[in-house]
Assembly symmetry: C2
């Protein structure tokens, strides 16, 4: 299993590189000035844990697809490029200057502007270039997906999943930014429910459920099997995102590659925050509402909210939820009638998704 997985990752990286080489060749015919668009996509997608590609691969294998099939590799390429596109625009939306421990794409264009001594506003240029680079990467993901062939043609289950995944993640991201601005005016009682909707659509379905189903659908899995896969993958994705939420507040910048308390400065109204609003004292809630979403938040402010999240029981409630989702997910995996290699691989991926530190 480990050997097969490592061979898959090698094939994935090679295919992704070849794809970007072809694109680089095509756009360099337009002008050499276009090179930074491709370079920044390449740098971004060369990193990452390949979780979505691996879930698609093992979904494909679990549904009876052949080992190291080119179709499954291409599906991985499409998913990694889609993830790249989502991250590029996400970082503009969240004004995140770093990603995976390096400058985010829009920041790299702002830096290029500064280094080159160009005119007008470097940040505005960086944002504009980032929007276009994300669009290009989104188009690439589709191109890679279509190139899988008849298994992803119009009307197929795989195409339906890919379409749904894209629409859901964009809708989920919108609900996320909407909650940042509208959340304080909405009911506290509904906050946890709204946070769950965001985490399900913005992240859980897209990070685990859809990639796994996509791989399985390409291998020809019937609907019943896809439903059984979801019983494993959806709670896993929810646990994965809750772990992400915890790391976004309590994570160590040295391992996450993002500044401490980043999610708080960005004003993310995660389940963690919803629980603090429900469980916290009046003082704690007042502090939270005064600070959340303000980029000027000091490290002491971050430390204050961290303490409140712990003392109020909000952190404990989220950790309990991660635990129970993980258990539900593991049980559903055990109940799946699949070969041992994919089962072991999915088990390992699931552990890593929930236990991770970055």
């Amino acid at each position: 299993m480990a050997e097969e997985q490592s061979a898959f990752i090698t094939a994935l990286n090679t295919t992704l590189d070849d794809f970007l080489d072809r694109q680089q060749h095509l756009v360099s015919d337009i002008s050499p000035d276009v090179a930074p668009l491709l370079d920044s996509i390449r740098t971004l997608v060369s990193g990452g844990k390949r979780m979505r590609a691996l879930l698609a691969y093992w979904g494909f294998r679990a549904a009876g697809g052949a080992g190291l099939s080119h179709q499954a590799v291409q599906a991985g390429v499409a998913l990694e490029l889609f993830q790249g596109a989502a991250l590029i625009h996400d970082d503009i939306i969240d004004r995140s200057a770093t990603r995976r421990g390096r400058p985010s794409v829009h920041q790299s264009f702002t830096d290029l502007h500064g280094r080159s001594g160009w005119q007008l506003d470097p940040e505005r240029f960086g944002q504009a270039a980032g929007i276009l680079t994300g669009d290009l990467c989104l188009s690439f993901s589709e191109e890679a997906f279509a190139s899988i062939g008849p298994a992803t043609a119009s009307g197929t289950k795989a195409r339906e999943i890919f379409n749904r995944m894209r629409a859901e993640v964009m809708a989920g991201q919108y609900l996320d930014i909407l909650e940042e601005v509208a959340g304080p005016l909405r009911t506290v009682a509904g906050a946890a429910g709204r946070a769950r909707t965001v985490l399900r659509f913005k992240s859980a379905k897209y990070s685990t459920e859809h990639p796994l189903a996509l791989g399985a659908a390409i291998a020809g899995a019937p609907d019943g099997l896809l439903e059984r896969f979801s019983r494993f993958s959806l709670p896993l994705g929810e646990a994965f995102q809750l772990r992400d939420d915890v790391l976004g507040v309590f994570g160590d910048p040295a391992t996450t590659g993002k500044p401490a308390g980043d999610d708080l400065r960005e004003g993310k109204r995660t389940l963690l925050v919803a629980f603090l609003r429900e469980l916290g004292t009046e003082d704690q809630v007042r502090n939270l509402e005064a600070l959340l979403g303000h980029a000027s938040m000091s490290d002491d402010d971050v430390q204050l909210i961290r303490g409140d999240l712990q003392v109020s029981g909000a952190l404990g409630a989220v950790e309990a939820e991660i635990s129970s989702l993980s258990t539900a997910s593991a049980t559903a995996l055990d109940e799946l009638d699949i070969a041992e290699a994919p089962r072991l691989a999915l088990h390992t991926l699931a552990e890593a998704a929930v236990r991770r530190k970055a």
Copy 2:
């Protein structure tokens, strides 16, 4: 011909509406809060001249495709959605508050924030929502394109054109914003060449050459015919964009739906601007460089540059170029061995593209 074109437009509008209805249904399952994303796409794509869809349709017909074929209608839907996505992100990049005489998409979200009394920064929310809406619209265009069926499957000529169109327009847009910031430091001698590259890739190929070729390719046109089509459509697209550039500076806000001199405030370094740098006096060039790209530019400043563009001969040079491109395009159309209905339709579209006031 006019009757067929009007039946096509009706079929296009109905199919586009049905497509958006299905998407609305899908995302409203997530949350009713997502409705404004779909609403803003619908409002945007309900406007416009349908030029790209019509070019694809008549390209399809000229290459022997059947009248009012569903494939050609779907190609029009995909192109209109792609154009919508490009406009949404373009308006964020250019900070344009209006589009087609109404608030641009990101502006409509900024307005929604204001009306709703939400927290944090309305403009930032508007931009973020606009980025996501554009991404959604871009995904929709691909979904519509794939649904055409085997004629747009991976490996087909139509798919190759669609992929190339997307990459070229994004690369061209990047070169456009790059020239805004880097242009002042680059050689005056090279400015016209750089402006031509931008207009070709950002606009000409995407507005006319690729839509026409796409329709023809779906109908099974051989490469030779596509090349002969390009001799008509590429100069037409260049003339179209040069007309756009002139309207961006000299257009009447009442008919363009955009503020007077918008392109100057945005700092667009069009061929018009390149010619002024080449042909203008030292004073004129100094004025231009001091004002271009500054949102604070007064109406008097706009009037000053307009005068300089006329007096220097820059406007005349661009008008001469529009004329010669139109002639080349018309000659190439005459030489095409196609049926009379598509020829007449393409002739009428070409006239409208170059003579328009908005």
